[in-house]
Each structure stands twice: as C-alpha cells, then as structure tokens.
Symmetry: C2
Subunit: 336 residues, 2 copies
C-alpha cells in the first residue's frame, strides 16, 4: 500500500456484465500502474447500477463478484488498492443525501453526461429520480475518500465538474475546506472501438472480446475484426485510420518498432490483412492467457475473494465515516 500522503484516486465500475478489452485498455490496465503511485480506492458500484436496473436487480448483484474476479485477474492487488462494494458503505448514500441540497434540478438537467445518458436510455420524462441525481451520488463517492484524481473518459468530465461545484458549495457553507476538489485523469489512450469498428465496445452490440475469452473465442473475434474496407487486394495500399486491427495493435503490441514497420508496409501495399490479424491474435492471446489463468485460480477461491472484498469494504467504510462525521459537524448535525 502506498503512503497515507499519496494522492487519492477513486475509480470503479458498474457491475452489470463481464468486463472486456475495452475496460482493460480504458481503465483496468492503468489501475495496475496507479496502485503503485497512488492511494487507490476501487468501487464496485452496485448501488449506482441499480439506478437504471431496478427491473433486474439480480443482474447487478450477480456481477459484483465477477467484476472482483476480473480486477484480481488483471493484477489489481488488494494489498495496494482498496476494492469495495458501494452498497455496503452506507455512508456514501448519507453523503449523497446531503449533497442533493447543494445542486439544483435545473443544474442536473443541464449536465451533458446525464443528458446524453438519458437520451441513450430513452427515459424521456420518465427518468428515475435516482438517475437524474446520480451526479450527487458520484460526488459522494469521490469526496468520501477525499479523492483528488478520478480516472474518466472525456465524456465523463462534466461529472467531475459537477462534483467540484458541490465541493465548493459545501466548503462555502462550512466556511472551511472540508471537502477536496478532484481532477479528471483522462487516460492517454482513448476508448477502444468494438471489433466491428463501432466507437464503443458494448455487450449489447456483440462487438466485444471478454477478458475471460478462451483461445478459440479470441481467434474467432480477430477473424471478424474490422480493418480497411478499401483494402480489397493484397497489393492495394491499406489505410490505418479506423482500422481496428491496427488500433488494437497500438494498444497491445509489445514491439512498437516492429509495429511501425508493419504499418508502413500496410500503407505501401502488399501486406495481407491475414498477416496483420495473425500478429494481433498472438498479441491478444499473450495478453489474455495469464489473465484467464489467474481468473480461473481466483474462481476456485471465491470465499477468499469475498473476504478480500469484505476487508476492502471495511477500510472504505472507516474512511467514508470520517468524512460523513466532518460533513455533519460542519452542518451542525452533532448533538450527542
């Protein structure tokens, strides 16, 4: 575990399905690095996942342990990172409850991330109140641990801004710096596209490669990968832009010099897609084999995995309870 004075990171995932390469590149891989530099809290956001899954609560609770298995499989180390389950830290709901007083309905409705997500889900006017107000809940998650860094994609930056507004509003009321503002930590590599070339890997689009994919599944996925639709004959010059095989190679190939040569060759013409795909398959098999094998080990030790979640959750509660106490004290809500 890093020192108590290291900057604090808050990150996490909604447990609504198995994790895939998109998660790996966008966040999981970075967390394995962050845990050596920062005090890292990783939240399995079951309560937040319920905000739009009340019709299938089992899906959420079932995936909590699956997400934990993925974390451990990729190398997140519970001795270095605090992994916890959101719903088991009730202090987060309590904080969110007070933060709701610090943000107006109009401001929530203007939040671009919330707007876009409401549009995507087709909620129209039937938005569950818990969904509209989840930025207050995210502010609670971030501030409970005094996180100063939150790894997010570009599209989530407005959530951090909204959290910081709540922080400033609260500190103004408290007349001291009780809460800490956070910075968005946007990962260097953007979002990994789906194997079909769509902007986003998504289970519902069936364009994902799961972290626990077996060798045959990896092979089949690579075969289907979207490359350059204009590259009809081997001797034609190929294009790299939007070419998922090369985007994935950028993310996974351990030999950047070799990859640069391969790209040049592809652009000149004369290089078959099958050669590119063969190289990509090797990379992916190499990346995923140890993850899959570690996952299988952890799957056999579910009791220990739960125990590790329990310990992380206890640690998280302790920190969050301190923040709740400070917040309530600043609001004058201490009587006994």
């Amino acid at each position: 575990m890093t020192s108590r004075t290291a900057p604090v990171i808050l990150t996490g995932d909604r447990p609504t399905g198995p994790m895939h390469l998109g998660h790996f590149v966008g966040s999981l891989r970075n967390r394995v690095a962050y845990q050596n530099e920062f005090r890292q809290y990783i939240m399995i956001a079951d309560a937040q996942a319920l905000t739009d899954n009340m019709d299938d609560t089992g899906k959420v609770s079932r995936h909590v342990i699956e997400v934990a298995l993925d974390y451990l499989a990729v190398g997140i180390d519970p001795k270095k990172s605090t992994i916890f389950i959101q719903s088991q830290v009730p202090e987060l709901a309590e904080l969110a409850f007070y933060y709701l007083n610090l943000v107006s309905v109009a401001r929530l409705e203007r939040n671009p991330t919330v707007k876009e997500e409401i549009r995507q889900r087709g909620f129209e006017r039937d938005i569950p109140a818990g969904f509209l107000t989840y930025p207050a809940s995210q502010a609670a998650d971030i501030t409970a641990f005094k996180a100063s860094l939150v790894p997010v994609g570009e599209d989530q930056i407005p959530m951090i801004e909204q959290s910081n507004e709540i922080v400033r509003h609260f500190n103004r009321i408290a007349e001291r710096e009780v809460l800490v503002e956070a910075k968005a930590l946007v990962p260097p590599l953007g979002r990994l596209p789906g194997i079909d070339g769509k902007a986003k890997m998504s289970k519902s689009l069936k364009n994902v490669i799961h972290l626990n994919a077996n060798p045959d599944e990896i092979c089949a996925a690579v075969k289907k990968i979207y490359t350059d639709p204009l590259h009809l004959r081997i001797e034609d010059p190929g294009h790299l832009e939007g070419n998922v095989a090369f985007i994935y190679l950028d993310a996974f190939d351990p030999d950047p010099v070799g990859l640069a040569e391969l790209k040049a060759y592809y652009v000149r013409g004369g290089l078959a897609d099958s050669v590119v795909k063969a190289r990509l398959e090797t990379c992916l098999q190499d990346v995923l084999a140890p993850i899959r094998s570690r996952r299988q080990q952890f799957e056999k030790a579910r009791g220990e995995v739960l125990q590790c979640l329990k310990e992380g959750t206890d640690q998280a509660r302790e920190i969050a309870a301190r923040t709740v106490a400070e917040v309530k004290s600043a609001l004058g809500l201490t009587y006994f």
Copy 2:
C-alpha cells in the same frame, strides 16, 4: 410503551422555529393521546429542514433541542413515544437513496404538495434537488418504522400517496410485502388560523402564540385577535364564521355547553368582544401555564433531555436498520 403489535404511527416536525398553538392543536395534543394507543415514533426532522435551509444550518440544529423541550412540555412521554433526531438515523438516508430509483422526476414534479411548496418558496427552476426529492425521503421515514398511520393535514395527503406508490413499486420488485403502506390520519380539527385571521399561524407573519408565551404575551395576543369586523356595536348581531376568537374557543374551551350559549348570545347581539376575549384568555392561560412551567423544568435539565433523545434515536436506529437490511436483501445487496 404500547405493545409491539400496536399500529405504528410516524410523525414529527421540522426544527426551524419555536412551536406554537397551531402545532399544539394540529398535532402535539393528538400525540399525547396517540401514545397510549399506538407505537409512536416522533421524528425531529433536521435533515429534511436542511433541504431548504442550507443557507442557515445553525437555525436548524439550534431548534432541535427546543422542539424536544416543547414535546416534553406538552406531555409527550419518552417512555411511551420514541423521540428521535432524523440526521442521527443514517439508515433513513440510505433507504431514501434506494427509493429515488422508484419514482420518476415527472412524478415528483406533479406532486401537488411539492408543487405548492415550491411555489411558496419561490424556487422556480432553482429547486434544490433535495427539495424536489423529499417525498422519497418522507417515504423512507414512514416505511423505516413500518408505520401504517401518518398524522397529516389535508394538504399533505399527496405525500402519503406518493410514499404508498413507492411501497407498492418496491414490493412488486421484491415479490413480497417487505414494506407497509400507510394511511393519512387527518386530525378532526383543521388548521388553527393565525390571530390576524390568516389561514395559517406562521412565525414570519407574526400571527402566532408560542407554546412558551408568558402571561403578558398571551394577554397581548388575545387583545389583537381578529373577531368579526361587522360587529361594530355591542348590540349588533355577531358572526362566528372566520371569527378567530370563537375558533380558538372551539379548540380550547373545556366547557362546550357554556361555549354554545356564548355563541348563541354573540349571534343574537348584545355580547361585547371583550367578554369573549376574556373567556378565551382564561382558557389559553389555563392551557399554557402548565406547559410553560413543565418546559422551564426541562430547560434546567438539558443534559437529561439530550439523553432521552439519544435513547430514542438508538431505538429508532435499531428498527430502521432492520428495514434497511430487509430492503437490501430484497434488492440482492447482501454479499458477506
């Protein structure tokens, strides 16, 4: 304390100012009776009061003990009723947090009570999210104790309906009767008007008689009381409708037969307002003297009053924690 199987009542007050005769007639007096029949939980709603008092949190926390003193002064008995402080039962915030997923923003905006209160406060589009969503919070307060009765004025009935909708929605998801629907218990006597004849006693209108008013203040208030503006000469026939002196006598005169005779005389003409007011003053002095004197006793024992709030709050937490456990179990949120 009544038996464990007695129907449960949840009631309470927002601690934003000293309590007055309006509270006494509208609720406090009834609670003294209810506590012998029902399992009564009385909540000092400091957290709810914050939803529109974040600019003056001290006002809220200061009045918590004042409200408790008023309770004890009127005869609410902590051995029979459980008096607790809302913010010190974090389980209520946790429940509210889940209930937010069971109510849509549009439904909250349609709630007539919320609409009216938003209008009164002039919030327009700058409604704090915590204010718009407070019906979910009230549903948490009611259901945490499995209350089946909630004493409210006519204008608050939509809040009970909204709470029951949440209950039904939740039970549907849980596929069993985890939560209990509540009935509004509308007190027989309507709201007491202000001494100026306005519909509502309100500190800001300066038309109230406080529970701890001293004899001179009571006398002065009765002198100012609105009667019948058409009753200019003693011999004129008087009107009872809207006549605050008679409305108060209806609420406080212990001699209904004598009061009926007085009314008949007033309507015939020949009875001076001063006679009516003298009778009213005697009634009010008689009602308020023992309350004032008990309050003074309790004021000298603030430590004990706090201890009594602490014990009530501990009891309330225990019950609320059981409900939270049932709710989370029904949502699948149990892992350890």
